[in-house]
Protein backbone atom coordinates (compact mmCIF):
# COMPACT_ATOMS: atom_id res chain seq x y z
CA UNK A 1 0.00 0.00 0.00
CA UNK A 2 1.30 3.50 -0.83
CA UNK A 3 1.97 5.97 2.01
CA UNK A 4 -1.13 8.00 2.83
CA UNK A 5 -0.80 11.77 2.57
CA UNK A 6 -2.09 12.15 6.11
CA UNK A 7 -1.97 9.74 8.98
CA UNK A 8 -2.77 10.66 12.56
CA UNK A 9 -2.50 8.42 15.59
CA UNK A 10 -4.17 9.36 18.87
CA UNK A 11 -4.09 13.02 18.02
CA UNK A 12 -5.19 15.10 21.04
CA UNK A 13 -5.29 18.77 21.79
CA UNK A 14 -5.81 20.26 25.22
CA UNK A 15 -6.01 24.00 25.73
CA UNK A 16 -4.63 25.10 29.06
CA UNK A 17 -7.33 27.14 30.78
CA UNK A 18 -7.46 28.62 34.26
CA UNK A 19 -9.11 25.49 35.68
CA UNK A 20 -7.11 22.62 34.25
CA UNK A 21 -7.01 21.72 30.61
CA UNK A 22 -9.92 21.87 28.21
CA UNK A 23 -9.75 18.90 25.81
CA UNK A 24 -10.67 19.94 22.28
CA UNK A 25 -9.53 16.89 20.38
CA UNK A 26 -9.12 13.42 21.82
CA UNK A 27 -7.56 10.43 20.17
CA UNK A 28 -8.26 11.29 16.58
CA UNK A 29 -7.05 8.58 14.21
CA UNK A 30 -7.28 9.56 10.55
CA UNK A 31 -5.90 8.24 7.31
CA UNK A 32 -6.27 10.19 4.09
CA UNK A 33 -4.82 8.78 0.89
CA UNK A 34 -3.15 10.79 -1.87
CA UNK A 35 -5.73 12.18 -4.26
CA UNK A 36 -8.69 11.82 -1.89
CA UNK A 37 -11.29 14.55 -1.36
CA UNK A 38 -12.51 14.37 2.19
CA UNK A 39 -15.17 16.51 3.84
CA UNK A 40 -14.69 17.28 7.51
CA UNK A 41 -18.01 17.95 9.18
CA UNK A 42 -19.39 18.54 12.59
CA UNK A 43 -21.23 21.15 14.65
CA UNK A 44 -19.39 24.24 15.82
CA UNK A 45 -17.28 23.50 18.85
CA UNK A 46 -16.69 19.96 17.65
CA UNK A 47 -12.98 20.63 17.12
CA UNK A 48 -13.03 20.96 13.31
CA UNK A 49 -11.01 24.15 13.27
CA UNK A 50 -8.48 22.82 15.75
CA UNK A 51 -8.03 19.68 13.71
CA UNK A 52 -7.66 21.71 10.53
CA UNK A 53 -5.06 23.96 12.18
CA UNK A 54 -3.07 20.92 13.29
CA UNK A 55 -3.35 19.28 9.88
CA UNK A 56 -2.30 22.62 8.35
CA UNK A 57 0.78 22.77 10.57
CA UNK A 58 -0.47 26.02 12.06
CA UNK A 59 -0.81 24.34 15.44
CA UNK A 60 0.77 21.39 17.22
CA UNK A 61 -1.01 18.48 18.87
CA UNK A 62 -0.70 18.08 22.65
CA UNK A 63 -0.37 14.32 22.25
CA UNK A 64 -0.29 11.82 19.42
CA UNK A 65 1.43 11.64 16.09
CA UNK A 66 0.81 13.49 12.88
CA UNK A 67 2.52 12.00 9.83
CA UNK A 68 2.37 14.13 6.69
CA UNK A 69 3.61 12.58 3.44
CA UNK A 70 5.46 9.92 5.42
CA UNK A 71 7.22 12.25 7.87
CA UNK A 72 6.29 12.93 11.47
CA UNK A 73 5.57 16.67 11.71
CA UNK A 74 4.11 16.69 15.26
CA UNK A 75 7.11 18.33 16.90
CA UNK A 76 8.43 20.76 14.34
CA UNK A 77 9.72 24.23 15.18
CA UNK A 78 7.89 27.24 13.82
CA UNK A 79 10.45 27.73 11.06
CA UNK A 80 10.10 24.07 10.05
CA UNK A 81 6.31 24.28 10.17
CA UNK A 82 6.46 27.27 7.82
CA UNK A 83 8.58 25.26 5.41
CA UNK A 84 6.07 22.38 5.49
CA UNK A 85 3.16 24.78 4.86
CA UNK A 86 5.02 26.36 2.00
CA UNK A 87 5.79 23.10 0.19
CA UNK A 88 3.05 20.67 1.27
CA UNK A 89 -0.09 22.60 2.09
CA UNK A 90 -2.31 25.09 0.33
CA UNK A 91 -4.95 27.04 2.24
CA UNK A 92 -8.32 28.33 1.02
CA UNK A 93 -10.35 30.32 3.54
CA UNK A 94 -13.97 31.31 3.81
CA UNK A 95 -13.09 35.00 3.78
CA UNK A 96 -10.45 34.64 1.04
CA UNK A 97 -7.69 36.38 3.03
CA UNK A 98 -6.04 38.02 0.07
CA UNK A 99 -3.46 40.75 0.73
CA UNK A 100 -5.39 43.97 0.15
CA UNK A 101 -2.40 45.97 -1.06
CA UNK A 102 -1.18 43.38 -3.50
CA UNK A 103 -2.62 42.74 -6.97
CA UNK A 104 -4.20 39.41 -7.88
CA UNK A 105 -1.02 38.37 -9.64
CA UNK A 106 1.15 39.39 -6.69
CA UNK A 107 -1.09 37.44 -4.33
CA UNK A 108 -0.71 34.33 -6.44
CA UNK A 109 3.06 34.82 -6.73
CA UNK A 110 3.55 35.18 -2.98
CA UNK A 111 4.26 31.49 -2.09
CA UNK A 112 6.84 31.30 -4.88
CA UNK A 113 8.43 34.45 -3.54
CA UNK A 114 8.80 32.83 -0.13
CA UNK A 115 10.12 29.69 -1.79
CA UNK A 116 12.82 31.81 -3.41
CA UNK A 117 11.71 31.21 -7.00
CA UNK A 118 13.12 33.93 -9.30
CA UNK A 119 10.62 36.61 -10.20
CA UNK A 120 10.35 35.89 -13.90
CA UNK A 121 9.56 32.23 -13.42
CA UNK A 122 7.25 32.93 -10.48
CA UNK A 123 5.29 35.48 -12.50
CA UNK A 124 4.97 33.04 -15.37
CA UNK A 125 3.68 30.26 -13.12
CA UNK A 126 1.26 32.63 -11.42
CA UNK A 127 -0.04 33.95 -14.72
CA UNK A 128 -0.67 30.41 -15.96
CA UNK A 129 -2.58 29.58 -12.80
CA UNK A 130 -4.64 32.77 -12.97
CA UNK A 131 -5.53 31.84 -16.53
CA UNK A 132 -6.45 28.35 -15.35
CA UNK A 133 -8.93 29.75 -12.79
CA UNK A 134 -10.32 32.03 -15.51
CA UNK A 135 -8.81 35.33 -14.38
CA UNK A 136 -6.05 35.98 -16.91
CA UNK A 137 -7.48 39.48 -17.49
CA UNK A 138 -7.60 40.34 -13.77
CA UNK A 139 -3.93 39.99 -12.85
CA UNK A 140 -3.32 43.66 -12.14
CA UNK A 141 -6.55 44.16 -10.17
CA UNK A 142 -6.53 44.64 -6.43
CA UNK A 143 -8.80 42.38 -4.32
CA UNK A 144 -11.20 45.25 -3.64
CA UNK A 145 -11.83 45.49 -7.39
CA UNK A 146 -12.84 41.81 -7.66
CA UNK A 147 -16.11 40.04 -6.93
CA UNK A 148 -16.34 37.43 -4.16
CA UNK A 149 -16.16 34.55 -6.62
CA UNK A 150 -13.17 36.09 -8.34
CA UNK A 151 -11.40 36.61 -5.03
CA UNK A 152 -11.88 32.98 -4.10
CA UNK A 153 -10.49 31.96 -7.50
CA UNK A 154 -7.41 34.09 -6.82
CA UNK A 155 -7.11 32.45 -3.39
CA UNK A 156 -7.35 28.99 -4.96
CA UNK A 157 -4.71 29.87 -7.52
CA UNK A 158 -2.50 31.14 -4.71
CA UNK A 159 -3.01 27.94 -2.69
CA UNK A 160 -1.83 25.87 -5.65
CA UNK A 161 1.13 27.90 -6.98
CA UNK A 162 3.72 26.00 -4.98
CA UNK A 163 2.13 22.68 -6.15
CA UNK A 164 1.32 21.32 -2.69
CA UNK A 165 0.01 17.75 -2.52
CA UNK A 166 -2.59 18.83 0.06
CA UNK A 167 -5.22 21.56 -0.07
CA UNK A 168 -7.09 22.60 3.09
CA UNK A 169 -10.31 24.44 2.32
CA UNK A 170 -12.12 26.00 5.29
CA UNK A 171 -15.72 26.73 4.24
CA UNK A 172 -14.56 27.78 0.76
CA UNK A 173 -18.09 28.63 -0.35
CA UNK A 174 -19.27 30.05 2.96
CA UNK A 175 -19.13 33.67 1.82
CA UNK A 176 -20.51 33.06 -1.66
CA UNK A 177 -23.99 32.70 -3.13
CA UNK A 178 -25.13 29.21 -4.16
CA UNK A 179 -24.37 29.55 -7.84
CA UNK A 180 -20.90 31.02 -7.34
CA UNK A 181 -20.27 28.49 -4.61
CA UNK A 182 -21.07 25.65 -7.00
CA UNK A 183 -18.69 27.13 -9.57
CA UNK A 184 -15.93 27.32 -7.01
CA UNK A 185 -16.54 23.71 -5.96
CA UNK A 186 -16.43 22.60 -9.59
CA UNK A 187 -13.16 24.48 -10.07
CA UNK A 188 -11.67 22.84 -6.96
CA UNK A 189 -12.66 19.38 -8.15
CA UNK A 190 -11.35 20.01 -11.66
CA UNK A 191 -8.02 21.13 -10.25
CA UNK A 192 -8.00 18.10 -7.98
CA UNK A 193 -8.42 15.85 -10.99
CA UNK A 194 -5.81 17.65 -13.09
CA UNK A 195 -3.17 17.81 -10.39
CA UNK A 196 -4.03 14.94 -8.09
CA UNK A 197 -4.17 17.27 -5.13
CA UNK A 198 -5.75 15.83 -2.01
CA UNK A 199 -8.41 18.11 -0.56
CA UNK A 200 -9.75 18.36 2.95
CA UNK A 201 -12.96 20.34 2.94
CA UNK A 202 -14.35 21.79 6.15
CA UNK A 203 -18.01 22.64 5.72
CA UNK A 204 -21.40 22.87 7.36
CA UNK A 205 -23.15 22.55 4.05
CA UNK A 206 -24.22 18.96 3.21
CA UNK A 207 -24.51 19.93 -0.47
CA UNK A 208 -20.88 20.99 -0.53
CA UNK A 209 -19.89 17.92 1.50
CA UNK A 210 -21.47 15.72 -1.10
CA UNK A 211 -18.73 16.69 -3.56
CA UNK A 212 -16.29 14.73 -1.41
CA UNK A 213 -15.31 11.07 -1.82
CA UNK A 214 -15.69 10.56 1.88
CA UNK A 215 -17.00 12.41 4.92
CA UNK A 216 -15.57 12.48 8.41
CA UNK A 217 -17.70 13.62 11.31
CA UNK A 218 -16.39 15.21 14.46
CA UNK A 219 -18.30 15.59 17.66
CA UNK A 220 -16.89 16.78 20.98
CA UNK A 221 -13.39 16.34 19.63
CA UNK A 222 -13.88 12.75 18.54
CA UNK A 223 -14.32 11.16 15.15
CA UNK A 224 -17.70 9.48 15.19
CA UNK A 225 -19.24 6.83 13.01
CA UNK A 226 -20.57 8.28 9.81
CA UNK A 227 -24.07 6.75 10.07
CA UNK A 228 -24.49 7.58 13.68
CA UNK A 229 -23.44 11.16 13.09
CA UNK A 230 -25.77 11.56 10.17
CA UNK A 231 -28.63 10.27 12.23
CA UNK A 232 -27.56 12.62 14.98
CA UNK A 233 -27.29 15.51 12.59
CA UNK A 234 -30.76 14.89 11.20
CA UNK A 235 -32.39 14.30 14.52
Amino acid sequence: MPTPVIETLGLSKVYQGSVGGVPVLSHVDLTIEYGEVVALRGPSGSGKSTLLNILGCLDRPSRGRYVLGGSDVSGLTREEQAWVRLHYIGFVFQSFHLLAHATALENVTLPLHYAGVPRGRADETARDLLARVGLSHRGSHFPAQLSGGERQRVAIARALTARPPLLLADEPTGALDTKTGAEIMRLLLDLHKERGTSIILVTHDPVVADYADRQIFLRDGKVVDTEEAQVGARA
Binding site: L58, A82, W83, R85, L86, F93, L99, H101, L110
Partner: protein, 404 residues
Protein backbone atom coordinates in the same frame (compact mmCIF):
# COMPACT_ATOMS: atom_id res chain seq x y z
CA UNK B 1 16.89 32.58 2.47
CA UNK B 2 16.48 33.63 -1.12
CA UNK B 3 14.71 36.88 -0.34
CA UNK B 4 16.95 39.88 -0.78
CA UNK B 5 16.19 42.15 -3.69
CA UNK B 6 12.70 40.83 -4.28
CA UNK B 7 11.71 41.57 -0.69
CA UNK B 8 13.02 45.11 -1.03
CA UNK B 9 11.04 45.56 -4.20
CA UNK B 10 7.82 44.28 -2.60
CA UNK B 11 8.32 46.36 0.54
CA UNK B 12 8.87 49.47 -1.54
CA UNK B 13 5.71 48.69 -3.49
CA UNK B 14 3.66 48.38 -0.31
CA UNK B 15 5.09 51.67 0.94
CA UNK B 16 4.20 53.48 -2.27
CA UNK B 17 0.69 52.00 -2.25
CA UNK B 18 0.00 53.33 1.24
CA UNK B 19 1.35 56.86 0.92
CA UNK B 20 -0.59 58.22 3.89
CA UNK B 21 0.64 55.68 6.37
CA UNK B 22 4.17 55.85 5.00
CA UNK B 23 4.26 59.64 5.19
CA UNK B 24 3.00 59.59 8.78
CA UNK B 25 5.63 57.09 9.76
CA UNK B 26 8.39 59.13 8.20
CA UNK B 27 7.16 62.48 9.47
CA UNK B 28 8.46 62.21 13.02
CA UNK B 29 11.90 61.10 11.99
CA UNK B 30 12.08 63.63 9.16
CA UNK B 31 11.26 66.43 11.60
CA UNK B 32 13.68 65.05 14.17
CA UNK B 33 16.56 64.79 11.74
CA UNK B 34 15.69 68.12 10.14
CA UNK B 35 15.46 69.86 13.51
CA UNK B 36 18.79 68.42 14.55
CA UNK B 37 20.60 69.58 11.44
CA UNK B 38 18.94 72.99 11.55
CA UNK B 39 19.61 73.50 15.27
CA UNK B 40 23.25 72.50 15.00
CA UNK B 41 23.53 74.89 12.08
CA UNK B 42 21.82 77.68 14.07
CA UNK B 43 24.22 77.15 16.95
CA UNK B 44 27.26 77.20 14.71
CA UNK B 45 25.99 80.16 12.68
CA UNK B 46 25.18 82.16 15.80
CA UNK B 47 28.61 81.34 17.22
CA UNK B 48 30.38 82.54 14.10
CA UNK B 49 28.25 85.65 14.09
CA UNK B 50 29.01 86.42 17.74
CA UNK B 51 32.70 85.79 17.26
CA UNK B 52 32.68 88.02 14.18
CA UNK B 53 31.17 90.80 16.27
CA UNK B 54 33.91 90.47 18.83
CA UNK B 55 36.58 90.30 16.18
CA UNK B 56 35.76 93.94 15.46
CA UNK B 57 37.87 94.57 18.55
CA UNK B 58 40.85 93.08 16.76
CA UNK B 59 42.14 89.55 17.11
CA UNK B 60 45.81 90.33 16.73
CA UNK B 61 46.06 92.99 19.33
CA UNK B 62 47.53 93.59 22.77
CA UNK B 63 46.26 96.41 24.91
CA UNK B 64 48.55 98.03 27.51
CA UNK B 65 46.96 100.35 30.06
CA UNK B 66 47.49 101.50 33.59
CA UNK B 67 45.58 99.80 36.34
CA UNK B 68 43.42 101.80 38.65
CA UNK B 69 44.38 101.44 42.34
CA UNK B 70 40.90 100.17 43.16
CA UNK B 71 41.53 97.09 41.07
CA UNK B 72 44.80 96.31 42.79
CA UNK B 73 45.19 97.93 46.22
CA UNK B 74 48.71 96.59 46.78
CA UNK B 75 50.06 98.25 43.66
CA UNK B 76 52.05 101.46 43.71
CA UNK B 77 50.28 104.59 42.60
CA UNK B 78 49.79 103.87 38.95
CA UNK B 79 52.16 105.46 36.49
CA UNK B 80 50.07 106.90 33.66
CA UNK B 81 50.70 105.19 30.36
CA UNK B 82 52.59 107.62 28.22
CA UNK B 83 55.37 108.16 25.74
CA UNK B 84 57.85 106.50 28.06
CA UNK B 85 56.02 103.16 27.75
CA UNK B 86 55.64 103.53 24.00
CA UNK B 87 59.38 104.13 23.67
CA UNK B 88 60.28 101.25 25.98
CA UNK B 89 58.24 98.79 23.98
CA UNK B 90 59.39 100.14 20.60
CA UNK B 91 62.99 99.94 21.66
CA UNK B 92 63.14 96.63 23.46
CA UNK B 93 60.41 94.33 22.17
CA UNK B 94 61.47 91.80 19.54
CA UNK B 95 58.10 90.16 18.94
CA UNK B 96 56.23 93.30 18.07
CA UNK B 97 55.25 94.66 14.63
CA UNK B 98 53.98 98.07 15.68
CA UNK B 99 53.02 100.11 18.69
CA UNK B 100 50.05 102.44 18.44
CA UNK B 101 49.44 104.87 21.29
CA UNK B 102 45.80 105.83 21.66
CA UNK B 103 44.99 109.11 23.34
CA UNK B 104 41.33 109.75 23.86
CA UNK B 105 39.08 112.49 25.12
CA UNK B 106 35.58 113.74 24.78
CA UNK B 107 35.47 116.80 22.58
CA UNK B 108 32.99 118.77 20.57
CA UNK B 109 33.10 118.70 16.78
CA UNK B 110 31.85 121.79 15.00
CA UNK B 111 31.25 122.72 11.39
CA UNK B 112 29.15 125.36 9.67
CA UNK B 113 27.67 126.69 12.90
CA UNK B 114 26.68 123.23 14.10
CA UNK B 115 28.33 121.49 16.99
CA UNK B 116 27.97 118.08 18.59
CA UNK B 117 29.71 116.20 21.39
CA UNK B 118 31.89 113.34 20.21
CA UNK B 119 35.19 111.64 20.97
CA UNK B 120 38.61 112.38 19.57
CA UNK B 121 41.28 109.68 19.34
CA UNK B 122 44.89 110.57 18.79
CA UNK B 123 46.48 107.65 16.98
CA UNK B 124 49.16 106.67 14.47
CA UNK B 125 48.33 105.72 10.85
CA UNK B 126 48.67 102.02 11.76
CA UNK B 127 45.55 102.24 13.94
CA UNK B 128 43.18 101.63 11.03
CA UNK B 129 44.99 98.51 9.81
CA UNK B 130 45.16 97.14 13.33
CA UNK B 131 41.36 97.33 13.62
CA UNK B 132 40.70 96.32 9.99
CA UNK B 133 38.96 99.63 9.65
CA UNK B 134 38.48 100.89 6.09
CA UNK B 135 38.34 104.44 4.82
CA UNK B 136 35.05 105.02 2.98
CA UNK B 137 36.07 108.26 1.28
CA UNK B 138 39.35 110.19 1.04
CA UNK B 139 42.36 108.60 2.71
CA UNK B 140 44.26 107.97 5.93
CA UNK B 141 46.76 110.50 7.29
CA UNK B 142 50.36 109.43 6.80
CA UNK B 143 53.75 109.40 8.51
CA UNK B 144 54.58 112.97 7.48
CA UNK B 145 51.28 114.18 8.97
CA UNK B 146 52.42 112.45 12.13
CA UNK B 147 55.90 114.04 12.25
CA UNK B 148 54.56 117.46 11.35
CA UNK B 149 51.64 117.21 13.77
CA UNK B 150 49.43 118.24 10.88
CA UNK B 151 45.95 119.48 11.62
CA UNK B 152 44.12 116.76 9.69
CA UNK B 153 41.43 114.33 10.76
CA UNK B 154 39.27 111.36 9.81
CA UNK B 155 35.57 111.55 10.64
CA UNK B 156 33.46 108.64 11.82
CA UNK B 157 30.16 108.04 10.04
CA UNK B 158 28.02 109.37 12.87
CA UNK B 159 29.80 112.74 12.86
CA UNK B 160 29.51 112.96 9.09
CA UNK B 161 25.80 112.22 9.19
CA UNK B 162 25.02 114.58 12.04
CA UNK B 163 27.10 117.53 10.83
CA UNK B 164 27.21 117.23 7.07
CA UNK B 165 24.10 115.29 6.19
CA UNK B 166 24.36 114.60 2.50
CA UNK B 167 27.16 117.07 1.86
CA UNK B 168 30.72 115.99 1.16
CA UNK B 169 32.95 116.58 4.20
CA UNK B 170 36.26 115.97 2.38
CA UNK B 171 38.49 119.05 2.40
CA UNK B 172 36.23 120.90 4.85
CA UNK B 173 37.62 122.23 8.11
CA UNK B 174 36.00 121.19 11.36
CA UNK B 175 36.76 122.65 14.78
CA UNK B 176 37.64 120.20 17.57
CA UNK B 177 37.08 121.05 21.23
CA UNK B 178 36.19 124.60 20.19
CA UNK B 179 39.81 125.52 19.59
CA UNK B 180 41.58 123.35 17.06
CA UNK B 181 40.63 123.60 13.42
CA UNK B 182 41.55 120.63 11.24
CA UNK B 183 41.00 119.53 7.71
CA UNK B 184 38.91 116.42 6.96
CA UNK B 185 41.04 114.09 4.85
CA UNK B 186 38.95 110.95 5.11
CA UNK B 187 35.68 109.41 6.17
CA UNK B 188 35.77 106.12 8.11
CA UNK B 189 33.72 103.14 7.00
CA UNK B 190 30.78 102.32 9.21
CA UNK B 191 31.73 100.07 12.12
CA UNK B 192 28.43 99.82 13.99
CA UNK B 193 28.14 99.30 17.71
CA UNK B 194 30.55 97.69 20.09
CA UNK B 195 29.52 94.75 22.26
CA UNK B 196 28.68 97.17 25.07
CA UNK B 197 26.46 99.24 22.78
CA UNK B 198 28.84 102.16 22.30
CA UNK B 199 28.62 103.83 18.88
CA UNK B 200 32.00 103.08 17.31
CA UNK B 201 31.31 105.57 14.52
CA UNK B 202 30.89 108.51 16.90
CA UNK B 203 34.56 109.46 16.62
CA UNK B 204 37.23 111.72 15.12
CA UNK B 205 40.75 110.40 14.49
CA UNK B 206 43.74 112.77 14.49
CA UNK B 207 47.50 112.11 14.47
CA UNK B 208 48.61 111.48 18.05
CA UNK B 209 51.25 114.22 17.71
CA UNK B 210 48.59 116.72 16.77
CA UNK B 211 46.51 115.52 19.71
CA UNK B 212 49.43 115.95 22.12
CA UNK B 213 50.25 119.40 20.79
CA UNK B 214 46.75 120.85 20.71
CA UNK B 215 44.18 118.80 22.54
CA UNK B 216 45.81 117.90 25.83
CA UNK B 217 48.11 119.35 28.50
CA UNK B 218 50.22 116.26 28.99
CA UNK B 219 50.70 113.26 26.76
CA UNK B 220 48.87 110.51 28.63
CA UNK B 221 47.43 107.67 26.62
CA UNK B 222 44.17 105.88 27.28
CA UNK B 223 46.02 102.77 26.25
CA UNK B 224 48.74 101.54 23.99
CA UNK B 225 47.87 99.02 21.32
CA UNK B 226 50.57 96.60 20.27
CA UNK B 227 50.47 94.32 17.27
CA UNK B 228 52.61 91.20 17.57
CA UNK B 229 54.60 90.09 14.52
CA UNK B 230 52.26 87.15 14.00
CA UNK B 231 49.12 85.86 15.72
CA UNK B 232 51.09 82.96 17.14
CA UNK B 233 53.39 85.37 18.92
CA UNK B 234 50.52 87.00 20.79
CA UNK B 235 51.22 85.25 24.06
CA UNK B 236 55.01 85.63 23.91
CA UNK B 237 54.58 89.28 23.01
CA UNK B 238 52.38 89.80 26.06
CA UNK B 239 54.98 88.18 28.27
CA UNK B 240 57.75 90.24 26.72
CA UNK B 241 55.87 93.52 27.10
CA UNK B 242 55.07 92.71 30.72
CA UNK B 243 58.78 92.07 31.35
CA UNK B 244 59.88 95.27 29.65
CA UNK B 245 57.38 97.43 31.51
CA UNK B 246 58.16 95.82 34.90
CA UNK B 247 61.83 96.59 34.39
CA UNK B 248 61.03 100.04 33.04
CA UNK B 249 58.88 100.79 36.06
CA UNK B 250 61.53 99.34 38.37
CA UNK B 251 59.18 96.85 40.03
CA UNK B 252 60.56 94.36 42.53
CA UNK B 253 59.95 90.67 41.92
CA UNK B 254 57.26 90.46 44.61
CA UNK B 255 55.41 93.54 43.47
CA UNK B 256 52.34 93.21 41.32
CA UNK B 257 52.12 94.91 37.94
CA UNK B 258 51.09 98.56 37.99
CA UNK B 259 49.76 98.20 34.47
CA UNK B 260 47.75 95.65 32.59
CA UNK B 261 48.52 93.84 29.38
CA UNK B 262 45.42 92.26 27.87
CA UNK B 263 44.09 91.05 24.58
CA UNK B 264 40.59 91.11 23.06
CA UNK B 265 41.35 87.57 21.98
CA UNK B 266 40.56 86.54 25.54
CA UNK B 267 37.13 88.09 25.21
CA UNK B 268 36.67 86.43 21.85
CA UNK B 269 37.70 83.11 23.28
CA UNK B 270 35.24 83.55 26.13
CA UNK B 271 32.46 84.49 23.73
CA UNK B 272 33.34 81.52 21.59
CA UNK B 273 33.16 79.22 24.61
CA UNK B 274 29.78 80.63 25.61
CA UNK B 275 28.43 80.27 22.10
CA UNK B 276 29.74 76.73 21.94
CA UNK B 277 27.92 75.83 25.15
CA UNK B 278 24.71 77.29 23.70
CA UNK B 279 25.29 75.36 20.49
CA UNK B 280 25.72 72.15 22.44
CA UNK B 281 22.52 72.89 24.33
CA UNK B 282 20.67 73.38 21.06
CA UNK B 283 22.09 70.13 19.73
CA UNK B 284 21.02 68.33 22.90
CA UNK B 285 17.47 69.62 22.56
CA UNK B 286 17.47 68.63 18.91
CA UNK B 287 18.80 65.23 19.93
CA UNK B 288 15.69 64.75 22.05
CA UNK B 289 13.48 65.52 19.06
CA UNK B 290 15.51 63.00 17.08
CA UNK B 291 14.80 60.41 19.74
CA UNK B 292 11.11 61.30 19.76
CA UNK B 293 11.07 60.89 15.99
CA UNK B 294 12.55 57.43 16.41
CA UNK B 295 9.98 56.50 19.00
CA UNK B 296 7.33 57.74 16.56
CA UNK B 297 8.55 55.24 14.00
CA UNK B 298 8.41 52.49 16.56
CA UNK B 299 4.86 53.44 17.56
CA UNK B 300 3.54 53.50 14.04
CA UNK B 301 5.29 50.23 13.28
CA UNK B 302 3.76 48.67 16.40
CA UNK B 303 0.31 49.95 15.48
CA UNK B 304 0.92 48.69 12.01
CA UNK B 305 1.67 45.21 13.31
CA UNK B 306 -1.65 45.26 15.17
CA UNK B 307 -3.41 46.61 12.11
CA UNK B 308 -1.82 44.10 9.81
CA UNK B 309 -2.44 41.05 11.96
CA UNK B 310 -4.53 39.46 9.22
CA UNK B 311 -1.88 40.11 6.61
CA UNK B 312 0.77 38.57 8.84
CA UNK B 313 -1.45 35.55 9.48
CA UNK B 314 -2.09 35.07 5.78
CA UNK B 315 1.59 35.29 4.96
CA UNK B 316 2.34 32.79 7.70
CA UNK B 317 -0.34 30.38 6.48
CA UNK B 318 1.01 30.58 2.96
CA UNK B 319 4.36 29.50 4.27
CA UNK B 320 6.30 32.61 5.23
CA UNK B 321 8.63 31.66 8.05
CA UNK B 322 8.94 33.85 11.15
CA UNK B 323 12.35 34.97 9.97
CA UNK B 324 10.94 35.96 6.59
CA UNK B 325 8.22 38.01 8.24
CA UNK B 326 10.80 39.58 10.53
CA UNK B 327 12.92 40.47 7.52
CA UNK B 328 9.96 41.94 5.69
CA UNK B 329 9.02 44.26 8.56
CA UNK B 330 12.62 45.22 9.17
CA UNK B 331 13.10 46.11 5.52
CA UNK B 332 9.94 48.17 5.54
CA UNK B 333 11.12 50.03 8.62
CA UNK B 334 14.52 50.51 7.04
CA UNK B 335 13.13 51.95 3.83
CA UNK B 336 10.80 54.29 5.72
CA UNK B 337 13.66 55.32 7.97
CA UNK B 338 15.98 56.04 5.09
CA UNK B 339 13.33 58.02 3.26
CA UNK B 340 12.48 59.91 6.45
CA UNK B 341 16.12 60.62 7.11
CA UNK B 342 16.63 61.84 3.57
CA UNK B 343 13.61 64.14 3.80
CA UNK B 344 14.88 65.33 7.18
CA UNK B 345 18.35 66.14 5.88
CA UNK B 346 16.84 68.09 2.99
CA UNK B 347 14.45 69.86 5.33
CA UNK B 348 17.17 70.68 7.85
CA UNK B 349 19.53 72.14 5.27
CA UNK B 350 16.65 74.11 3.75
CA UNK B 351 15.58 75.61 7.05
CA UNK B 352 19.18 76.30 8.06
CA UNK B 353 19.75 78.15 4.78
CA UNK B 354 16.58 80.18 5.15
CA UNK B 355 17.28 81.19 8.73
CA UNK B 356 20.92 81.96 7.99
CA UNK B 357 19.81 84.28 5.20
CA UNK B 358 17.30 86.05 7.40
CA UNK B 359 19.59 86.36 10.42
CA UNK B 360 22.52 87.41 8.29
CA UNK B 361 24.91 84.86 9.72
CA UNK B 362 26.93 82.39 7.72
CA UNK B 363 25.12 79.14 6.82
CA UNK B 364 27.15 76.46 8.47
CA UNK B 365 26.16 72.86 7.72
CA UNK B 366 28.48 70.64 9.66
CA UNK B 367 29.04 67.41 7.73
CA UNK B 368 29.54 65.56 11.00
CA UNK B 369 26.18 66.83 12.24
CA UNK B 370 24.46 65.61 9.08
CA UNK B 371 26.26 62.28 9.26
CA UNK B 372 25.47 61.87 12.92
CA UNK B 373 21.76 62.63 12.60
CA UNK B 374 21.43 60.51 9.47
CA UNK B 375 23.28 57.65 11.12
CA UNK B 376 21.26 58.08 14.27
CA UNK B 377 18.03 58.16 12.28
CA UNK B 378 18.84 54.95 10.46
CA UNK B 379 20.05 53.27 13.64
CA UNK B 380 16.82 54.27 15.36
CA UNK B 381 14.86 52.88 12.43
CA UNK B 382 16.60 49.53 12.66
CA UNK B 383 16.41 49.38 16.43
CA UNK B 384 12.82 50.52 16.76
CA UNK B 385 11.84 48.66 13.61
CA UNK B 386 13.17 45.43 15.09
CA UNK B 387 10.82 45.34 18.07
CA UNK B 388 7.56 45.49 16.10
CA UNK B 389 9.06 43.21 13.47
CA UNK B 390 9.84 40.62 16.10
CA UNK B 391 6.36 40.93 17.46
CA UNK B 392 4.97 40.39 13.97
CA UNK B 393 7.16 37.35 13.45
CA UNK B 394 6.08 35.78 16.72
CA UNK B 395 2.40 36.35 16.07
CA UNK B 396 0.48 33.09 16.20
CA UNK B 397 -0.94 32.60 12.68
CA UNK B 398 -4.12 30.94 13.98
CA UNK B 399 -4.99 33.90 16.15
CA UNK B 400 -3.95 36.27 13.42
CA UNK B 401 -6.35 34.62 10.99
CA UNK B 402 -9.21 34.32 13.42
CA UNK B 403 -9.16 38.04 14.16
CA UNK B 404 -11.32 39.55 11.47
Amino acid sequence: MALGRETWRLALKLIVRQPGRSALTMLGLAIGVGAFIAMVSFGEGARKSVVAQFEVLGTNLIKVQNTTPAVNPRARPSIPTGDNEVKLIRREATTVAQVVPVARRAASVAWGGEQRPSYVNGVTPGYLGLHSWDVAAGGNFDASDLTEAAKVCLLGKTNVKELFGDRDPLGETVTLAGMMPCRVVGVLAEKGFSTNAADLDDIVLVPVTTYNAHLTDRPIYAYIEVEPLTKDLLDSARAEITDILRRGHGLEDDEPNDFSVSSPLEVIRAADRTARILGTLLAAIAGVSLLVGGIGIMNIQLVSVAERTEEIGVRAAIGASPSQILTQFLIEALILTMLGTFVGVTLGIGVATLVAQNMGWPRVISPSGVLFSAGFGIAVGILFGYLPARRAALLDPIHALRRQ
